[in-house]
Every structure is written in C-alpha cells, then in structure tokens.
C-alpha cells in the first residue's frame, strides 16, 4: 500500500516534470536557401544604375546584422540582393545607396534609403520587397527668372546686353543640365496669325536654340540650385552704371557676328552655350518688350540632324489695313513639345492676343510693362514665386506662378 502510493506519487511527479520540460527549444533554424530582397524602382525612372549600396538585415532579438555592400544586382526580375545563412526570425530591413537615372529624358542622380521594420523571414517566407518611393524626382528644371527688358543707361538709352535667364532645379534630386536648351518662340504673343500647317498642339516653333553643352553628366545642378544664362557675362556696370555685373553667370550666349562692327564679347571664364540656331546673323538678345515666349527644352540628337530635319516650312496669313497677305514662315525650327521641360509666355496687357505655348506648358502669361512701348518696363524682370518650403511654384500658369515687374535678383 505504502509502496504503491509513493510509487504512484513519484510517477505523477515525473510526468509533471516531463510534461513541462517537453516544450523543446530548438536553436536558431538557418534558412537553407538564400533570402532574396527585391528593390523595386519608381515607375517613372528609366536607365537606373545602382551604386554604393548597403543592404542590412538586423535581427530584432539579438541586434546581429547581415550586411551586403554593393550587392544589388540587376536581374531579369528587377534589382535583387541576396543574403545567405540567414536564421529564421524577425528582422529590420534597410537598404540605402545611390541611383543614377533618367526621368523624362533628363538625367538625374539621387540617393535612396528605405526601411521596413519587423520583416518575418522563415523557410516558408524567404523573400522581401522594398520599393524606392520616398524621393520625388518631380519638379525638374524650371525657369525661375527672365530678365528680358534690359536696363537704361544714365543718359536714358536702352541697354539690352545685360539680359539673363535663370534656370533652377526644382526637384529633390540632382539633375544634369546637359543638352538643356534655351529656346525662343518664333511666333509672338501679340500676333495671332493662323499658321499652316498648325503644329502648335505638339510642336513649338522656335527661332533661337542655345544649348547647354555637355556629355550627359557634365553640368550637375543640385536640388534648389540655379544656373544663369547671360546674354553677355561681363561686368556691364563698367559701361552702364545702371546695369549688372554678370561675370558670375554660368553660361553665356556667344554669337559670331557677320557684322564686324558688332562683335560679341566672349568672357573666357564663362562657358558658351552651344548655338544650334538663331534667326539673327548678328548678336542675339531677347525681345525686350516681352512679346515672345521662352522655354527650356531637352534636345535630342545632333545639331546637324536637327537643322536638317526640323525646319518649319509653312505659311501664315497677315492682315494689314484690311488686306490679307500670305506670308512664308522663315527662320523657324520645330522643337517637339515632348522635349519642352518648362516654358513661360510673355506679353503686354494692351497687346496680348494668344499664348504661344500650349496650356499644359503655360496656360497664362506674365509681363514687364503694360503697354506697347511701356517706358517703365526697363530694369524689371519676371520672377517665379516660391512657396513656404523654398520650392518654386509651378502650376503651369505664369499668371499665377510669376511675380510680374519684379526687381531683377542680380540687379544690385
């Protein structure tokens, strides 16, 4: 009786002990196949090249990290980085690095950093996907200022050589200004002729194309920074006390004049724009009453192919004193609207007839001067407004986006 009782008790005890000890704790289980992390690139980027990448898996329990440096490979399924000998568990996944890409034809570069916390990896779930999403390659280059009126000399004569245009990188990534061209519209905003053929839907008729030279990544412009294209990058104050010192410009318009008395000054310290075409045989200046529209466009192909293939052959009807005259369009080339990155319509209130640029580039217009020959227009510029975080406002409507008749920012 005694023996049975105690025997029974001991059995119960052993049973209890073994039951509670039964929950066996396995050591960490290594996933026998490599863990693959897919890096998905943003939809609007093309020709993406990844460099200096570091992808890390940090075990949430131990803090132990698996680090893969320069390991993102481009495969048929996209960009993938693999990890070997990863134990089952919960991980914080981080990937960072640099990207070069083209967006809407314009080359850019940016860095990326994405994190996903608490990713569970196991033999059944051995892949993860990170989407590069957080930066905005939107915005791109915008025309931030056009100083087209020129100044006046102390004697009261008009002085147009100090004109300039400023282009700003309004995005969050470094963009390259190579092959970005300053173009001037052939047609005026104050003469709405009917042009045949009508190419205005998807083509801009230009009479001047001056391109920023480069091999693709020669002219980096960081987010928020600007480049200034000056008609003449000299210190105009020397000749005209009311003018501007433009020696600090990034590029200058240089023309070889056919007229020996009018020669362009070449500041050797400031690179010249690559002149693809200009209607004038002498020196170029912007229309200082502001009757033309200006745009920046990303040129494709060579200058020779452009000049050979893109001439605008057409006619328009001009009505004078009741008589209609058919006129041939001269000195005009076609720039596909797809190449246009940003544009601004300029006009005067008294004379405005139409917007040369289509509505999705600029549905409004801006001005320095209200009347046909407004004497008060000089030493004024149109400047794009900035919002609270320093970004330029770009609703594709210069009536709203620009401050008209502003003090030129380089005029001191």
């Amino acid at each position: 009786m005694k023996k049975n009782f105690i025997g029974g008790l001991m059995m119960l005890l052993t049973l209890g002990l073994s039951l509670s000890a039964c929950s066996s704790d396995d050591g960490p289980v290594i996933i026998n196949e490599p863990v693959s992390v897919a890096i998905e690139m943003p939809l609007n980027l093309e020709n993406v090249v990844v460099s200096n990448d570091v992808t890390t898996l940090v075990d949430v329990k131990t803090g132990e990290a698996h680090v893969a440096a320069n390991a993102i490979k481009k495969t048929a399924d996209g960009y993938v980085v693999e990890f070997n000998e990863v134990a089952e568990g919960t991980y914080n996944l981080t990937s960072k690095g640099d990207l070069t890409f083209t967006v809407d034809g314009v080359a850019g570069k940016s860095s990326f950093e994405m994190t996903q916390d608490n990713v569970v990896l196991s033999r059944q779930a051995k892949s993860a996907k990170l989407t590069v999403n957080t930066f905005a390659a939107k915005g791109g280059f915008v025309i931030s200022e056009i100083f087209f009126t020129g100044t006046t000399t102390p004697e009261g004569k008009q002085y147009s050589n100090d004109q300039y245009i400023t282009i700003t990188n309004n995005s969050d990534v470094t963009l390259y200004a190579d092959s970005l061209a300053f173009v001037e519209s052939s047609f005026l905003t104050v003469n709405n002729y009917e042009y045949v053929p009508d190419i205005s839907k998807d083509t801009l008729a230009v009479d001047a194309v001056y391109m920023i030279p480069g091999t693709g990544m020669s002219v980096p412009v960081e987010p928020g920074k600007s480049i200034t294209l000056a008609v003449n990058a000299i210190n105009h104050k020397e000749g005209n006390a009311n003018s501007i010192d433009l020696r600090g410009a990034d590029f200058e318009f240089y023309d070889i004049s056919s007229n020996p008395t009018y020669n362009d000054v070449d500041n050797e310290n400031v690179p010249n724009l690559d002149k693809w075409y200009c209607y004038t045989a002498t020196l170029y200046t912007m229309h200082n009453r502001g009757f033309k529209s200006y745009a920046i466009a990303k040129m494709h192909g060579t200058k020779d192919d452009f000049l050979k293939n893109n001439a605008y052959v057409g006619k328009y009807v001009m009505t004078v004193n009741g008589n209609a005259y058919e006129m041939k369009v001269n000195n005009t080339y076609k720039v596909p609207m797809k190449w246009v990155v940003d544009g601004v319509n300029l006009s005067v209130e008294e004379e405005w007839q139409w917007n040369v640029l289509p509505a999705n580039v600029d549905s409004g217009w801006t001005f320095c001067g209200k009347t046909l020959n407004d004497k008060t227009r000089y030493s004024k510029a149109v400047i794009r407004k900035q919002d609270a975080d320093g970004k330029y406002v770009d609703t594709n409507n210069s009536t709203n986006d620009f401050t008209a008749e502003a003090v030129p920012s380089l005029l001191k």
């Binding site: 939809l43 996903q116 916390d117 989407t131 999403n133 939107k138």
Partner: protein, 128 residues
C-alpha cells in the same frame, strides 16, 4: 478508499472544468487593404509600400507586395494606423500617360476579423 477515490476525481474534475480559463489563441489574421482608384484614370502600373503601425504597441510592419490594388499582410489582431506611399502610372481621359506619386492614410483601422480582415482606402494623387 475505493468509494472515495471516484468521488475525489469527480470533485477535482468539476472544479477544474468550472475554473479552467479558455486560452484565446486566435492571434493572427490576414489584413487586406484595397486601394480605390478614381474612375477618371485608367491605371497601367501601380507600385507602393503599405506600413501598418499597431496602435497598441507602436510597432510597424511593411509590405511592398501589391496585387490588383490589394496589400495582404499577416498581423496580430488589433487596431492599426495605415500609411501607403507609392507611384501610379495611368492614362488620362485625354490619352496622355502620366506617372504620379500617391498616398493613402488612415489614423485608425481595426483588423480583428478572422481569417481575413479587409479595409479600403482611396488614393490621393499628389501634385507633381
């Protein structure tokens, strides 16, 4: 002794049955978030990352796997804050192709139904 033993077993059994607490072990559910896209656009491609942050523990979990506007993720049942960021490529009514960023957000969404818990969020297209 013989008579008492079965009575003993009955008493103990009754006591344990009456007091035994039912363990609630239905911990996880599949949370499915469906993005609703405005009718005016015809989507070509969509990509995005959904992050769920538990309102109770503040821990986050994310997924970038989107199929047919749905994100699926296995989560601990409870209440979550949802944030979705991504890009969408679509053709407009005028026929042009556009790529834009979008986001979706919810301060509070319960995922407690089992085995599948669904929620819908409209996407907000961001200005470019």
């Amino acid at each position: 002794m013989k008579r008492i033993l079965p009575l003993l077993a009955l008493v103990i059994g009754a006591f344990t049955l009456a007091s035994c607490h039912q363990e609630q072990t239905d911990y996880y559910t599949t949370a499915r978030l469906t993005l609703t896209v405005p009718d005016s656009i015809s989507v070509r491609q969509i990509q995005g990352t959904m992050t769920l942050q538990s309102l109770n523990t503040t821990l986050s979990q994310s997924t970038s796997n989107i199929t047919d506007y749905n994100f699926d993720m296995q989560v601990l049942r409870g209440a979550y804050k949802i944030d979705v960021v991504g890009m969408i490529q679509y053709t407009t009514t005028h026929g042009g192709l556009q790529t834009r960023h979008y986001r979706a957000h919810s301060d509070y969404t319960p995922f407690a139904d089992m085995p599948l818990s669904t929620a819908k969020l409209p996407i907000i297209l961001l200005d470019e």
